[in-house]
Structure formats: C-alpha cells, structure tokens
Symmetry: C2
Subunit: 464 residues, 2 copies
C-alpha cells in the first residue's frame, strides 16, 4: 500500500521526527523548530471552534446544562432537536446505520436550499468524516466485469485517500491530469485519453472529482463541471464528487455543485449517477476530530442504495456527536436568533482571514523566481510548481528519490519548514511541486514564505 | 452479503416495520406496540449515562465550562489531561491515526492494572468502536497463501459482524460449534475438526473468540482459554479476542483475558499473536453512540503493526470524543476523588440490575416447557434453545424459512415481541434458538417473558 502522510515510513515524517528529536537533545540547527506548513487541519494550528457548535455539543452530551441561563435559546433548541431524534433521547445510543433521521432530513433541507433541487433524505448516509463515505462507495464498486478489474479515474494531482483505497481494494487506478496552465482544469481531451488507455486493461467504473481542489486549490468552472458530466454520461461512469471544501471559496469565485449542475443540464445528463461527499472537518467549523460527514447518493438504483446501507450497517452507525456537529453545520443560527450575530462574526472572521492568507501564499510564492503558483481560489492549500535545476534532478535520482521529495527534504533540512512534496499527490512527469497549506497564522506564514524564498535561491545557486 | 440486523431486507426488520405502520394506522392487533427484546444497546432502552463521563465530555467540547464550580475537580482534571493531549488543545483537531497519545498510554496502564502484564502503548490503536478494529484486522489478513484464500475461524453461534466482514472481504468462513451442553464452550476436538476440514479448501489464518459470548452470554473458563491458545499455537493462528463484554460479568463468574492467560502460560504459548478488542459501547458506560474503542495487538511483528497503522491512517483518526470516553473508562474516579461515590453508586447500580435481569431471563425461559437456556454469566443476552415441533419445522420449510426465523416471526406476529432468530447468528443444524437481551427494564422483561411463555404454549399446541 502507498505511504500516507501519517505513516512513519514516509520519508518526510521520518526525517521531521528525527530532526525534532535532535533539536530536543540540543543539536545546533539553522532553525529552532519544525514548522508544519503542510497541516490541513485548522484547529490543529490554533483556529478556535465556532462557539455555537460547541455549545450545542456540550448540551447534547450533558442535557442537564439546558437549565443554565448562559446558553442561548437557539442552542438549546438545536440540542433538543438532536436529542429528540436519538433513541431514548441519548447520544449514547446507536443511531440508525445511516444516521439520526432528523439529521439526515436536515442535511436534505440544507442541500435543497443550496441547490434549489429536491433532495431525498433516504439517499443521505451520515459517515465518519468524508473518508469513510469514500471508502464504502469505492468498496461497493469493487466487482470485476467480464473478468476485468473495475477502474477508478482520479485527478492527478490527487488526494492520497483515493489512491490508498483503490490500491487496498485491488482496483485499477486511472489517473487523468489536471491542466495546470488552465487553473488545474479537467479537460475533456485528457479525460478521453485516460479512459481510452484504461479501457484496454480495466473496466472504468467511476470518476473522482475534487472540487474545490485538494491539493490544487482551484474551483471548477461550471463549464468544467458540465464537461465532466457529459464525459461521465458518455461512458456510463459514476461521479464521485469530493466537495468537502465547498464553503472555502476565495477570490470572488463561485462554487457549483455537481448535483445542481446535473439537474440543470436536464435529460439525459440529469440521470448520471453521483455521490457527493461533505464533512464538518473543513469550511468554517473545522471540526476534524469529531468526524462528522455525509454522502448524498443521486440517481442510483434503490437496490444499490440498500446494498450500500447494508454494508454501512456492519459498523452500526457513525459517531453521534459528529452527527450532531453536522446538524449544526446544516442548521446554523438564523437572523433574529440569539446566537446569530456572534456566529456570523466568527464565521466571517475565519473566511476573511483564510482568503487573505490564500492570496498571501500565492502572491508570496509567485514572487520567487522559478516557482509559479495558481491563485488559491478555494480549499486550504496551494500547489506551486518548482523548476528544479537539472543538476538537482540528477542528484535526486542518484539518491533514488523523486526530485520533488528531494526538494522538500532539503527545505526541511535547511529551514525546518515542512511541506508535502508533489510526489505525495502524484504529478505530471517532469513537473515538480509541493503542497503548502494556508492555515498557519499570518506572521508564521510570512516567515515560512521568507524561508522558502531564501532556501530556494540558495538551492538554485547550489545546483545551477 | 449476508443480511444484517439493521438491514430492511431482513425479514424481522421488514415485518416489524410493517406491523408498526399498521398499528399507527389503527389496525386491531393482540398488542399495542412492538417490544424490541433484541436491543443490545442499553442507552437506547433508557439506561442513563454515567454522570462522570458526560461531565468530562461536556468540558472537553466546551472547555470554558471548566470555570464552573458545579464540575468536580476530578472531572476538570480528566478533561484537561485529554485536551492537553490534543493538537492546540482542541478535540476539533485530528488526532494521530492511532489515537491521542495520552489516551493510548492510559489504555496501556489500564491493561497493565487489569492483567499485571506489561502493555506497550505503541501496540494500541484507538478505533471507532470495536467493529472498526475488527474490520481493519481482518482486512489486513486478506492475502492468499499458495493460491489459497485465508480462512477465519469463527464460533457458531457468532456475531454477524464477523461473517459480514469475512464475506465482504471474500475470505473463507470456518465455523466451529460451541458446545451448548457445556455452557457454550469451545472444545479442542471440535476446533480440530473445523480446522481439518477448512485446511482442505483454504489457509486458516486466525481464530475469533467472543468472550463473554455474544449471542450466548457465557464466560469462558481459564481452561477453555488455554485450550484455544494451545490450538492457535499448534496451527500458527492469530487469535482475535472480542472481549467487549469483559466488564459484564454476573453469577459470580470471573473474566480471564487472553492477554493475561497467554503471558501466564509462558513460552512457547506466550508468543501467540493476539488482538484484543474493547469499546465503551458495553460494560457500565454503554456509550454506544460515541463509538470509542481500541484494539491491542500483541506479539506481532512491528512491521505488521506499521502496515496496520498505515491502513488505519487512511481514515485519519477515530472520533476524538469517542477517544475521550475511552479515557474516562480507563481512568475512572478513584477513592478520595470527588466524583468517586456517585460514580461507584451509578456503576454498581447498573451491574446489580443487569445481574438481576440476567438471572430473571434465564430462569424465566427455563420455566417454559421445551425451552432451555444456559445461565447468562456475562454479556447482555441469552440464547435459549427452543424445541420446535416437527410439524412447525415442516411448515417453516414449506415457507422457505429457517424454523428459528419462522418461530421468531410468529412470536412477533402474535405478541409484538421482537427477538432475533438463531439463524441470524448461525446455529448447529437441527437446533433452533433465539437471542433475547437482558436490557429491557424489570417490568417490561417480566411482561416479555410472560408473553413468550403464552405464545410458546399455544405454538406447541398448534403444531403438536
């Protein structure tokens, strides 16, 4: 199985841990700490949770606090609605395998409001974060057809969740390259190329799209989405839309959901099979640790849904507190409710700051000769391309390393700044990247960008 | 895939839902509600959570409550210890893939205290309930050897989690019958028979043992455990010990862990590979909805553990609040701490009541002619054997139903009492059972037993 970021055999993790140990033991280094510029988890790097969410969660676990006048009425109301949906009024009971009914229904309402398109709550499954949904959906597609392995098309660069699952399930990974020069767009010609080649060795079954992009930070234009839908329709592919960053939209961009676009395109495209994934781990809540997520499955045979539910039922249910967080996300305070002003201010503060940091990262990186970075339109990261000098490429290869890993390891060694190399997400052959997230605070981010610039110039000098 | 209890295609679920609908629509029935005598989830049927646990959880999600004088100091201390172990002090951040370090270490301490045997915290992985641990462990064993499928030995009767996973992963299920006449014990002769037959078609790789038993309610004697360990050693099998009911011990019985027994047996048995599963879903906490669990892996090659950790890392981490609940379970209030007396009283109250109901169920069932039930020594259920008259067996077969399902469906239809038929857990051919749990409250349980008796006598009459 492919290495994951949390895996100590991954050379970056391994080396960073060794450096941290050396620092603790008093070794002299050109830096005093490892700065994790790769962290994609806002609360891990100090972002505060949304007060409303945490208040609701506290009442849900300890309902007797509802008598306390310090909790606003809308908080009490949400907590009561969640508890009323739990067996015997307790989050300590298992919920239905697909989630607490009132929360599934709330998710459906939220989606109807988002898209203006009907959403059937019976097609919504609450999951342990979005990763669980992806795992089960992929697993459900794992059947050979006419002796051929199922193939899953994934964007390159991709999120390693996909390649890890595909490899674990023994399916065929079919990469299609996003066009970096066109804001990382999926182009029909490239999709067709990838499909053509894959069809020789496997049975392509689904296409994964990550929008807003991770690690790339782009937002798909409506035209791009329509092209993917047409392509999926032509080849009878299931679309797996990873839309977990749908609330992280900067730069005046706009998010179009696959669900809405499919509906708007009308027949026959409106019949394309789709699963859309979402979670409370990103957006403004960033409740990653609570593992609340959902998948909405659209246009799928009820028998397939029923099989899917059956396989989810093996793990009984997803965590009820993650479900409760999802209820808060899909049923936030409304104007006139007592929590509204504070909620609005916290949410807007988070997005405003993220948007500023997104611009700061792309601007900063573009100010370094030999590094080019698309605008970070959404999500929480940038994926700049680095021109690595030929001599450095040769050195990396003689070390048996991908040049992007070599670069990231050198950056770590010289500055203590930890970014994930492009090889971790896969990249077009001959191009080299790294992923940096926008989540460090303003001053740290400024420092990181300065360190990257200094390092990069020296690196160019060393290998010129 | 095999039907699961939460699956609407399962005839019991399907029929119960239909009956509930008829009742709502005003249909006349010999009962006014469906009584779920199969529920294995204490809080779902009204058991209160442990105050200490919920207080800690509320502080963990809303740390500002720590200034509140109504929370005892030991509650605040636990919450602080958990938060200190979280990135940036928030449960909203992902933890390490294997769980928050301080909680893994606490689990190890708790196990050392339980067994008097060293426990290495690096061998402990915190999971989403025990089911996730089982899924990942089984999945890790899914490799063909010399062209043969891996075989997993499971007790019959079993918990359907095992058969569902084995079938989903395409492994070979190897059932060994528990000896009902000897308190559902696993007998070496039968283990050897099952192994011998299985070895012809697959490569037996692991043996699952559920202790205390589900659905059977027995507690293995130390001698039984030693026999299983010897057997596993002889055939180089990995032991998967499902010990989630280890705190639910009644009837003056004693729980022996596989870990301790292995250690006590000394070399070469002390080198047998073992994974033991536990969760907060049972015992006295019964926090099923929070999905906190762990697996301890013993005597396994560090490389295998590292592969296992890699595969767990795909889902990033288990829910942090489930992990927090596990911290409470493994670090409960101690004598002298302010929460101790209330905690002790709540915990003892729960166990006392469960023990009384366990006895009530087995006594009640044994008082019905043609039903025999082993003592419920542990866990939360009984698995009585029912002598089904030949005419009823014939009728069931003509309906294309297992006689135990036919019996349970008739019971449901005539009384509204819902029990799970033995076929759901598998049973020795020619024997028929059902599983009833001990969790309904005293009065309801009395009513249920009365209804079963009335039904059974009429059933005998009808098919005599």
């Amino acid at each position: 199985m492919k290495a994951t970021k949390h895996d100590t055999s991954y050379p970056m993790v391994y080396r960073a841990a060794a450096l941290e140990k050396e620092l603790r033991e008093g070794a002299k280094k050109p830096f005093t700490e490892i700065i994790k510029a790769n962290v994609n988890d806002a609360q891990a790097v100090g972002q505060s949770p949304i007060t409303f969410v945490r208040q609701v969660l506290s009442l849900v676990v300890l309902p007797e606090l509802s008598n306390d006048s310090r909790f606003p009425e809308d908080v009490k109301k949400r907590a009561k609605e969640i508890l009323d949906g739990c067996k015997s009024g307790s989050v300590g009971a298992y919920s239905e395998s697909t989630g607490i009914e009132v929360i599934c229904k709330q998710v459906a309402k939220y989606l109807e409001l988002r898209d203006g398109v009907p959403s059937n709550w019976a097609n919504i499954i609450l999951t342990m974060g979005s990763s669980e949904g992806v795992q089960y959906l992929l697993s459900a597609m794992n059947e050979k057809v006419e002796g051929k392995k199922p193939g899953i098309m994934i964007p390159i660069p991709e999120h390693p969740l996909y390649s890890a699952c595909i490899s674990e399930f023994g399916m065929e990974q079919v990469g299609y390259y996003l066009k970096e020069e066109k804001s990382w767009s999926p182009e029909t010609e490239e999709l067709e190329r990838a499909y053509r080649e894959a069809a020789k060795i496997c049975r392509p079954r689904a296409i994964v799209v990550i929008n807003p992009g991770n690690p790339t930070g782009e937002i798909l234009k409506r035209r791009n989405i329509m092209n993917v839908i047409k392509f999926a329709h032509k080849h009878n592919l299931f679309i797996l839309a990873d839309e977990v960053y749908q609330d992280n939209i900067y730069e005046g961009s706009k998010f179009y959901s696959f669900k809405k676009t499919i509906a708007q395109m009308g027949s026959p495209f409106s019949e394309v099979e789709l699963a859309s994934f979402m979670s409370c781990s990103k957006g403004y809540m960033n409740e990653s640790g609570l593992k609340g997520g959902y998948v909405e499955v659209v246009n799928t045979d009820p028998q397939v849904i029923s099989m899917l539910v059956k396989s989810f039922s093996v793990r009984l249910c997803s965590g009820t507190d993650g479900q409760a967080a999802l209820y808060c996300m899909t049923n936030p305070p409304q104007p006139g409710e007592p929590s509204y002003e504070q909620f609005k201010s916290e949410k807007e503060g988070i997005f405003k700051s993220m948007a500023a940091r997104a611009k700061m990262v792309s601007d900063g990186l573009n100010g370094i000769p030999g590094i080019s970075c698309n605008a970070v339109q959404g999500a929480m990261c940038a994926f700049p391309q680095v021109k690595i000098p030929e001599k450095a490429v040769a050195k990396a290869k003689s070390d048996n390393k991908c040049p992007s890993t070599f670069y990231a390891l050198q950056l770590l060694e010289k500055t203590g700044v930890y970014v994930d190399p492009g090889s971790f997400f896969s990249q077009k052959p001959g191009t080299y990247h790294f992923r940096i997230t926008i989540l460090s605070d303003y001053d740290k981010l400024k420092f990181i960008l300065k360190k990257i610039k200094e390092f990069h110039l020296k690196f160019l000098e060393e290998y010129k």
